[in-house]
Each structure stands twice: as structure tokens, then as C-alpha cells.
């Protein structure tokens, strides 16, 4: 068990190391000069250009040898210092991200967990009903193939613009100040719903299809055949199949994390929802590379942590991994 987690953790550690290194390398080795473009945007008068550039170069640490820059980069990172945002100068990147993180998490966590749960349930039901299966299958594949931003646009157009059931943009109405009143929470929820629904619906299709395919496979497995031969009721066989089919779906959850996070980013953009996605858009528009890189590191770290949590859950629910680890040949 310790070996299993040790192996997993070292992979994640290595991944994080690679991500940080890539993050450090890209601005230094890519064509183009980020400071140049930053200076170009910020300066008003020609005579301030040179002092400005010097200031930035010192500020971002470009005036020391490369290896030292790299070490400094790590040093700053470990102290939680991701640099300063250009867009919201002089706010530190960490603070910008921390401000938007709750919105993204507030969308992602419920969307991922609920779509996983509901999709699996629905897929299991679809697998046992031929009619439902035949109708759902094309719809399901279409759903997984739908670009998140497009569904967001369509939902926003229909439910917010056409029928005015939900607000079109933002996390809460501009007329309100954040507080814990019912009015505000209700307003928050109304703004939250459409982006959440977008993420939920697309992800739901994927889980339902995955479960449907897995459970059909499980229902034909030898243990299902044996239970049938023993006259076990269908209910019991289905329950076993469902449970066993859930296991690969947990692994699937880890694999899909990246895609759902990407979906959240673009959905936020459509709804001007002030999470990481919206921050990303602003960073791209304002050529705020430090913010962009900060967001990148945060996403990578978040995905890695989530991956590890999923590993832990998997080991808890699948006896095979738990027992297979005790020194047996893999």
C-alpha cells in the first residue's frame, strides 16, 4: 500500500516539477519578449521606457544567470510568490487567483460530483432498457461532443436572453454588495445555475455513456453468468455489475479532470463569471503572462491533488488494488 502511494506520489511530484520547469522555460525560450510587450502597453511617454524595462527586468529577476533564475523561481514559488499581475498592477498574482478560485471551485466541485453520480445512475438504467438505450445513445454521444462554450451560449441565449429566467452574466448582481443575506445568496445561486448546468449536462453525457458501456461488459462477465446459473435474481446481478462498473468510472474521473476544468474555464468566459477562466481571458487580453502562469500552476496543482484524492478513494473501494499490493507480482 505504501509502495503504491509512493509510486503515485512520485509521479505527481515529477509532473509538478515538469510543469514548473515548463512554466519557467516558456517565457525565456519562446520567441517574443514579454517584458517588451508589457512595457509597450504600460508606458505613456517615450523617456520612461528604459527605466521601466530595467525595473521590470530586476523585478522579474532577468538580470541574473539562468540557473540562478531557475532556483529563484522555485524559491519564490515555495514562498507562494507567483509574481505581480500586470492587468491589476500591483496586485500579487496569488491574491488575484485566490479571489477567483472560490467561484471556479464552486462551479467545478458540484458539477463534477453531481454529473458523475447522476450520469452513472442514468447509464445503468439506460443499459437495461432497450428503448431508452437506443434513444439515449446518440444524444449521449452528441452531449459529450458538445463544446462547453457552445452549450453555455445556447443556454444563456434561451434561458437568460429569450425567456429571462436567469441572469446573463456575473456572479451576482452589480446592485448588491456581498453579504450573507437571503437576497444575496439567492442572487448568487441564480447566477451560479446556468454555468453549473452547462458543466453538468456535458459531463453527464460522458458518464452515462461510460457507465452504459461498462455495465454491459460487466453483465456479460463470468461472475454474472455464474450468478445467473445459480438463479440469482436480476436485482442482485445488476447491483454487482453496477458496483464493479463504477470502479473504472472512478479512474475515468481522474482522466476527465483536465477536460472538465477546461470546460469550466470557457463556460466562465461566456457568463463573465469571475473565476479562473475569466481571469485567464483577462490575462490573455492584457498579455498578463505572470497571471497566466500563476493560473497554470494552480490548475496543475489542483488537478494533481484531485488525482491523488481519487487514487485514495479507488484503493478504498476496490479490494483488488488493496490486496494486489501486498507483495504480489503485479
Amino acid at each position: 500500500m505504501r509502495r503504491y502511494f509512493g509510486r503515485k506520489l512520485s509521479i505527481y511530484g515529477l509532473t509538478f516539477f515538469v510543469a514548473v520547469t515548463v512554466n519557467w522555460m516558456i517565457p525565456r525560450f519562446m520567441p517574443g519578449d514579454p517584458i517588451e510587450s508589457m512595457v509597450a502597453r504600460l508606458t505613456m511617454r517615450p523617456e520612461t521606457v528604459e527605466p521601466m524595462r530595467e525595473y521590470f527586468e530586476r523585478f522579474f529577476g532577468y538580470d541574473v544567470p539562468l540557473w540562478k533564475q531557475y532556483l529563484n523561481f522555485w524559491g519564490a514559488l515555495l514562498q507562494g510568490d507567483l509574481g505581480t499581475s500586470v492587468w491589476l498592477f500591483p496586485r500579487p498574482v496569488t491574491s488575484v487567483i485566490m479571489g477567483s478560485l472560490p467561484y471556479t471551485l464552486g462551479l467545478l466541485l458540484p458539477a463534477i460530483l453531481l454529473s458523475w453520480w447522476a450520469g452513472n445512475k442514468f447509464g445503468a438504467i439506460a443499459a437495461r432498457n432497450r428503448w431508452l438505450d437506443n434513444t439515449f445513445l446518440p444524444v449521449g454521444y452528441l452531449l459529450t461532443a458538445t463544446p462547453y462554450m457552445w452549450l453555455a451560449l445556447v443556454l444563456a441565449f434561451l434561458l437568460a436572453w429569450q425567456f429571462d429566467l436567469f441572469p446573463l452574466a456575473g456572479a451576482y448582481s452589480v446592485t448588491l454588495r456581498p453579504n450573507w443575506s437571503w437576497t444575496f445568496v439567492w442572487d448568487l445561486l441564480r447566477h451560479w445555475f446556468l454555468p453549473f448546468a452547462t458543466l453538468f449536462i456535458v459531463a453527464f453525457g460522458g458518464w452515462a455513456i461510460g457507465m452504459r458501456n461498462m455495465i454491459i461488459y460487466e453483465l456479460e462477465a463470468d461472475y454474472s453468468r455464474y450468478l445467473e446459473s445459480l438463479g440469482a435474481p436480476r436485482r442482485l446481478i445488476r447491483r454487482y455489475s453496477f458496483r464493479n462498473a463504477l470502479l473504472p468510472q472512478i479512474t475515468g474521473l481522474a482522466l476527465q479532470l483536465g477536460a472538465v476544468v477546461a470546460g469550466a474555464l470557457v463556460t466562465e468566459i461566456v457568463f463573465s463569471y469571475p473565476g479562473l477562466g475569466w481571469v485567464t481571458l483577462k490575462a490573455v487580453e492584457n498579455l498578463d503572462f505572470y497571471l497566466l502562469q500563476g493560473v497554470f500552476l494552480f490548475i496543475v496543482a489542483g488537478v494533481l491533488v484531485a488525482n491523488f484524492l481519487i487514487d485514495v478513494v479507488y484503493v478504498l473501494v476496490d479490494p483488488r488494488t488493496r490486496l494486489g499490493m501486498q507483495g504480489r507480482a503485479a
Binding site: 509502495r3 509510486r7 507483495g327 507480482a329 503485479a330
Partner: protein, 296 residues
């Protein structure tokens, strides 16, 4: 001709090979020209690993395997090809030995392109037809067909024909008939015996004692990677000295006597020979000329 000298094979398993499993443990034997040696063992005895090491499909961890006095592990690419000209293998599952997406006679063509690239079309075709007839097949019925259109027996014979197209001297036959039906397996078995009469040596690997007895001159009984008994086939079967050989013989279903008349006292084994405590270290002792038994 073939010397298998103190060979050990360890497999590394687990992430980055943390664990080792000893599949073959210090095994030595020889195969003389024109001799059929049967290698008998249950699952996990290492019998197939020995065959694969002789065919150099897997390297030995320790010890040497010599063919005509030459250590086979030292062979370079060219010499290895020459080695394969004399030493070939046929395996257990005929349907797995043929690539299902191609026609079955592709095995002959592959052989030609590697070993006889200068042979012309019709001359080669005649040779193939002759080899196919030699193994009791009708070329019209087996050539130009897909593997799934042929029976297991036909496929195994095709593989023998393939080996015979070379200057074959030693054949490693690994469970070659265990997946065939009763009515066809004897035919393939008899064919092997006929090949021997033409001077071929055969290492006949099997788990079935009756098959070993039927065909071989000498028998090696293998257990958990070690030889427990080795000698002239008749002597080993008629006068088994090692308790393991005796248990095996008592367990073979026969149609001459019933189990119930010869009870085995030992505790009921759950899994053949795969489990159990570590074996004590043993050495082979010659109990009569050419008959060796492991003693602790």
C-alpha cells in the same frame, strides 16, 4: 549435441523489478542426436521457460546453454539465424502460432525471405509442397487458406513442415498436442516419432505423463524449477524413486486400474505444485546407471 549446464532463470517482477522469482533453478541435462527427451512438469515447474531459453526467446540468468559446444548466448545476429536453421520450436496453441490476419502459408514465405532469399518461386513452391506432404497434409487443402479455416491438427503439422524446410537438428516441442482433440493428437505425436527416426532430436515438453511415456527415450521430471528425477523413460516410469514422481504416477487417470484401488495418502493438494513451503536444497544422485534422483 545440446548441453544445458547449471542454468538458472530468475524473473524480475513488480515496479522496476523489485522482486525476483526463480523459475528454473540450477538445471543441467543433455540432449543427444536422434534422441527424444521429454520434460515433464506441472504448471510453474519451469518447463516452458527451459524451452524458451534453448530457443533464445528469453535469456538465462546463470549457467550456459551450448549447442555443438558453442554458448548460444554469445551468438550475434547472423550466427543466431544459423542457429535457428538447426534449432526450431513448435508451441502449444496452434491458433496463436499463426497470425490471424494473414494466410497460414505465410509462415513458409517468411522462412524463405529470411533463410532462402535467393530461391526462385516454383522451386520453392515445390519444396513447400513436399514438406507439407511429408507431414501428412494435402497441399491443395492447406495452402492459400486462413488459419481459422484449418483445424488445430492441420496447423500444428504446418508448423512442423515449416521447421522441416530448414536443416533441422533439434526441435523444441512445447505442449504441441495438448490443445488438440483426442482423435487428431495421436497423429501429430506419431509424426514426431517418425521425425526422430530420420535423426532429429526432440525436446518434448508436456504435463501429460502418458504422452511422455509413449514417445520419449529419456524423461526429466521437473518440479518448481528443479529436476527431481531423470533417466531412461522406462526406468523412471516403472521404478520411480522420487516421491513426487510416484505421486504424479498415482494421479494419472488410467483405464487399466482405478484410483480407488490405489489411494494416495498425502494431503489433498489445492493447486498442483504451485504453492507450498520452500524446498530443501537437493542434489541429484545416480541410483542406477543413467537414472538420477534428487535427494536432500
Amino acid at each position: 549435441m545440446l548441453e544445458f549446464d547449471s542454468v538458472t532463470k530468475e524473473f524480475r517482477v513488480g515496479a522496476f523489478g523489485r522482486l525476483t522469482i526463480t523459475a528454473v533453478d540450477d538445471v543441467s541435462f543433455r540432449i543427444a542426436p536422434g534422441e527424444i527427451v521429454s520434460l515433464i512438469g506441472e504448471s510453474g515447474s519451469g518447463k516452458s521457460t527451459i524451452g524458451r531459453m534453448i530457443l533464445r526467446l528469453t535469456p538465462a540468468t546463470k549457467g550456459t546453454i551450448r549447442f555443438d559446444g558453442v554458448d548460444v548466448s554469445t551468438l550475434g545476429r547472423k550466427e543466431l539465424k544459423e542457429y535457428y536453421r538447426h534449432v526450431q520450436g513448435v508451441f502449444q496453441d496452434p491458433f496463436s502460432s499463426f497470425n490471424p490476419v494473414f494466410k497460414a502459408d505465410r509462415v513458409f514465405e517468411m522462412l524463405r525471405s529470411q533463410f532462402y532469399p535467393d530461391r526462385s518461386g516454383s522451386e520453392w513452391e515445390d519444396r513447400v509442397a513436399k514438406a507439407v506432404e511429408d507431414v501428412g497434409l494435402n497441399p491443395v487443402q492447406v495452402l492459400n487458406r486462413y488459419p481459422h479455416q484449418l483445424s488445430g491438427g492441420q496447423l500444428q503439422r504446418m508448423l512442423l513442415a515449416r521447421a522441416l524446410l530448414l536443416d533441422l537438428r533439434l526441435l523444441v516441442a512445447d505442449e504441441v498436442i495438448s490443445m488438440l482433440d483426442a482423435s487428431t493428437r495421436v497423429g501429430v505425436l506419431n509424426l514426431l516419432a517418425e521425425l526422430r527416426e530420420r535423426g532429429l532430436s526432440i525436446l518434448f515438453i508436456t504435463h501429460d505423463l502418458a504422452l511422455g511415456y509413449y514417445i520419449s527415450d529419456r524423461t526429466i521430471i521437473l518440479r518448481r524449477g528443479s529436476i527431481v528425477e531423470m533417466g531412461d523413460t522406462r526406468r523412471v516410469f516403472q521404478d520411480p524413486r522420487h516421491p513426487y514422481t510416484q505421486t504424479l504416477l498415482a494421479s494419472v487417470p488410467q483405464m487399466e486400474w482405478r484410483w480407488r484401488d490405489r489411494p494416495v495418502s498425502a494431503a489433498v493438494p489445492v493447486d498442483g505444485d504451485g504453492t507450498g513451503d520452500a524446498e530443501p536444497v537437493t542434489v541429484l544422485e545416480e541410483v542406477e546407471p543413467g537414472h538420477w534422483v534428487a535427494v536432500s
